[in-house]
């Protein structure tokens, strides 16, 4: 009895998937995404939700989003779109052109779009995601909104899949709604390892990342890990908690001799 029901559900799921011509939306059954050297170089066309607890982590959020978006930029898709509510500019800060270069994004490629209402916000995200020249849409959403429900996220994920551009929703707070996002990240900034020659100066940006939904490819860390930003992109640190004194863990990609490579790249 139970088995028949299960089989029936499976058939229905397969039919829906066939109708939509894409993988079933439930996270557990998804195959791990194909990844390259960088475990976070995810393919385009996905909807991500990135959460952090407090508004003051906004810069860490933007940095992470730019890091995810950077591998998607290319000659065919040269643009990034940043969407923000017009009233939140002072609270959250505006993306600063001169600081973008550090994340490998040229300021000319970032289109900044300020909207008045959540309706306009969703419209702008959707419209930008449909554009074939847009690699990723980064939406900075400071407050929870009723309109950002499952329907809205489903719509956005379909748009993203259709057009092949990634949509990143930056959300703040601890509340979670049902969502059709393929990935849900939870971020917080983490103390950096310090500069190689001056332990009292801040080193490379570091995040603590928890994947609440979705799965990374083989070789990537477990659901909770630490992440550094290097000149070559993201580097996942070893499982061990990095020491505060500056003995950083090894990047999981790249260098042959982890400790040495790490020190060299910091020096450079």
């Amino acid at each position: 009895m139970h088995g028949r029901k299960h089989a029936q559900i499976e058939t229905l799921r397969a039919r829906i998937a066939a109708l939509e011509e894409r993988l079933p939306a439930s996270g557990e059954e998804m195959a791990p995404l194909p990844t390259s050297q960088d475990p976070l170089a995810l393919p385009g066309g996905l909807l991500h939700e990135v959460f952090t607890d407090a508004r003051r982590n906004g810069a860490a959020m933007l940095g992470f989003a730019l890091g995810l978006a950077r591998p998607l930029l290319g000659p065919g898709r040269p643009a990034l779109v940043f969407v923000q509510m017009a009233g939140e500019a002072q609270e959250a800060g505006l993306p600063y052109g001169a600081g973008l270069a550090h994340f490998g994004v040229s300021p000319e490629s970032l289109l900044i779009c300020r909207v008045e209402s959540v309706v306009e916000l969703l419209w702008a995200i959707e419209e930008a995601a449909l554009c074939r020249a847009v690699a990723a849409v980064i939406a900075d959403i400071g407050r929870p909104h009723k309109a950002l429900d499952f329907t809205a996220s489903r719509r956005l994920s379909l748009r993203a899949a259709d057009a092949g551009s990634t949509v990143l929703l930056l959300r703040y707070g601890t509340g979670r709604e049902a969502s059709a996002a393929r990935f849900r990240w939870r971020l917080s900034p983490a103390p950096s390892a310090g500069m190689a020659f001056d332990a009292r100066a801040p080193g490379r940006p570091r995040w603590r990342v928890d994947i609440e939904k979705g799965r990374l490819g083989k070789g990537a860390g477990s659901p909770g890990f630490f992440l550094d930003w290097t000149e070559h992109g993201f580097a996942i640190l070893d499982r061990a908690e990095p020491g505060a004194a500056g003995v950083a863990g090894a990047p999981s990609s790249g260098a042959a001799s982890a400790g040495l490579g790490n020190r060299y790249s910091e020096a450079g």
């Binding site: 003051r56 982590n57 906004g58 810069a59 860490a60 933007l62 940095g63 992470f64 000659p75 898709r77 040269p78 017009a86 500019a89 002072q90 800060g93 505006l94 993306p95 600063y96 052109g97 001169a98 600081g99 973008l100 270069a101 550090h102 994340f103 040229s106 300021p107 000319e108 970032l110 289109l111 900044i112 779009c113 300020r114 909207v115 008045e116 306009e120 419209w123 702008a124 419209e127 930008a128 554009c131 074939r132 020249a133 847009v134 917080s188 900034p189 983490a190 103390p191 950096s192 310090g194 500069m195 001056d198 332990a199 009292r200 100066a201 801040p202 080193g203 940006p205 570091r206 930003w229």
Partner: protein, 510 residues
């Protein structure tokens, strides 16, 4: 040419429906310390009143008279709207100034109908249609069609309904009084004293003698009336370079209908532009309301285009932004779509072999966003040659053309935050030494303790900017216990510039 002798009072009656329709109405103004009538309606005219009469006389002559003070500004503004609306009939509409009055003008309207009349079934039908329409609305109106402005002006007042073919000016104007020549009153009186009452009497006179006696304006007016001048209408609305339009038998009101029509019109306009191998950047939608108002919606494209779907979408987004501004009144009976800033655009085949990159898509995206969210809402970063962080970067409208010499981005080796607060926020800071790095701060009522800090990067004032009075800033990148990084600065050099430097948060680092 349309002459509306009682426009002021007719408009007042339309604006104040409570006025009794059968009682005389007049407007007065203060002239040289006395209150005199300046406009009278039909009833008042029949009762023997005329403009220029003192108000008290008029009251005595006509006991039932209703009077109002004339608000010339208001009347002129209403007349301007009224004139704009008449561009439904012909693209160039102009309000003709009243002779000898330096006030805002109203009362006479010139419409250039060259090449338009056939749309109405001929000039006679057009004139009848236009005047009947105004009469139905309660305006007294007389009109005439003539090859020259001066001729039409004279005929509209003295021979309403005339349609004059080129060449007939002298004959048609001969029996008219000399007041048909748009002359100042003093000149008309002087002509009268010489027994010159009819225009025809002037033909045989020597021009030189007349010019010496009455001035060159007189000769110019006479020539204009006889079609020998070179006078042109001064259009009120910018004359569109290309336009297409549609009229409705029944007025429409819904914005959806308007947009559907716009899509059709865009298709026709695109066809026109394509035949000329041209594209346009400015598009204007004129909505003619039945109650004499024109609504104009304008959108701009970043690059010349003639893609009908794109034009229609831009207007659809612009309409979304209208919200409560959209008011169809009693309905819209004509829509015109016009294009400006037309530049050559080579014929091109879209589709099959177009390169797969999305640059064109991106341009269209910017247009769509700017038309829906407003042109200032969509921006990109532009660099300005300045050391002061908030001046070094500014947001430029994304649809503006890229500057020819893109200014070099600031030195990437300098630490610059990912997010900049538009206005630096004042904070309380503890530092171990007054000119050292910060140890802790209170920002937005939350305490932060810094474990690491780098800096300072000293940014001086731009003393060459006039009126610059800021203090030197020392910028630090400070990281707190949780790993958050802030870009904070101390304003003023300790001891050299100030005894109590103030601290600010200016940006957030990742």
């Amino acid at each position: 040419m349309l002459h509306l002798p009682a426009w002021a009072t007719d408009t007042l009656r339309r604006a104040e429906p409570g006025l009794p329709p059968d009682r005389p109405l007049a407007l007065w103004e203060t002239v040289r310390g006395g209150m005199r009538l300046c406009a009278v309606d039909r009833h008042a005219e029949r009762a023997g009143l005329s403009p220029g009469q003192p108000l008290s006389d008029a009251r005595a002559l006509c006991p039932g008279l209703i009077v109002r003070e004339a608000d010339h500004e208001w009347l002129a503004a209403r007349f301007a709207d009224f004139a704009d609306w008449h561009s439904y009939a012909g693209p160039i509409v102009s309000v003709l100034p009243e002779e000898g009055r330096h006030k805002p003008a109203y009362g006479t309207l010139g419409i250039d109908i060259a090449g338009v009349a056939h749309l109405y079934g001929g000039e006679q039908a057009m004139l009848d249609g236009v005047t009947t329409r105004l009469e139905n609305l309660g305006f007294s109106v007389s009109g005439a069609i003539a090859p020259a402005i001066g001729t039409a002006w004279a005929l509209a007042r003295h021979r309403p309904g005339t349609i004059l073919a080129p060449g007939g000016e002298e004959e048609a104007l001969a029996p008219l009084p000399v007041s048909a020549l748009r002359l100042p009153e003093a000149t008309i009186a002087a002509l009268g004293r010489l027994g010159l009452k009819r225009v025809g009497q002037l033909y045989a006179r020597q021009r030189k003698a007349m010019q010496a006696r009455f001035g060159s304006l007189f000769i110019a007016r006479l020539d204009e009336a006889l079609g020998r001048g070179n006078e042109r209408l001064v259009p009120r609305l910018p004359a569109p370079e290309r336009h297409v339009e549609r009229r409705f038998a029944e007025p429409i009101g819904l914005i959806d209908d308007v947009l559907a029509t716009t899509a059709d019109l865009a298709l026709r306009l695109a066809g026109q532009l394509e035949r000329e191998a041209a594209g346009a950047q400015g598009f204007h939608l004129f909505l003619y309301r039945v109650d004499h108002k024109v609504m104009v919606l304008s959108v701009n494209a970043a690059r010349p285009t003639r893609d009908p779907g794109h034009i229609a979408r831009l207007f659809a987004h612009r309409a979304d932004r209208l919200g409560g501004e959209y008011d169809a009144g009693f309905g819209i009976d004509m829509i015109r779509l016009a294009a400006t800033t037309i530049t050559p655009l080579a014929p091109r085949q879209d589709g099959a072999f177009a390169p797969p990159d999305g640059t064109a898509d991106l341009v269209r995206l910017k247009d769509r966003m700017a038309s829906r969210l407003g042109p200032l809402a969509v921006s990109r970063t532009g660099f300005v040659d300045s050391h002061i962080p908030e001046r070094a970067v500014r947001l430029e409208p994304a649809i503006a053309p890229l500057p020819d010499d893109p200014r070099a981005a600031p030195d990437p080796a300098l630490p610059r935050p990912l997010r900049l607060l538009p206005a630096p926020e004042r904070i309380e800071v503890l530092a171990q030494v007054p000119d050292g790095p910060p140890a802790s701060m209170v920002w937005r009522r939350l305490p932060y303790r810094f474990l690491r800090a780098s800096g300072p990067e000293r940014i001086g004032i731009e003393w060459w900017v006039p009126g610059e009075e800021a203090l030197t800033r020392d910028y630090y990148v400070a990281e707190d216990e949780a790993g958050r990084r802030f870009w904070i600065f101390r304003e003023g050099l300790y001891a050299a510039e100030t005894r109590e430097p103030r601290w600010f948060v200016h940006g957030l680092f990742c």
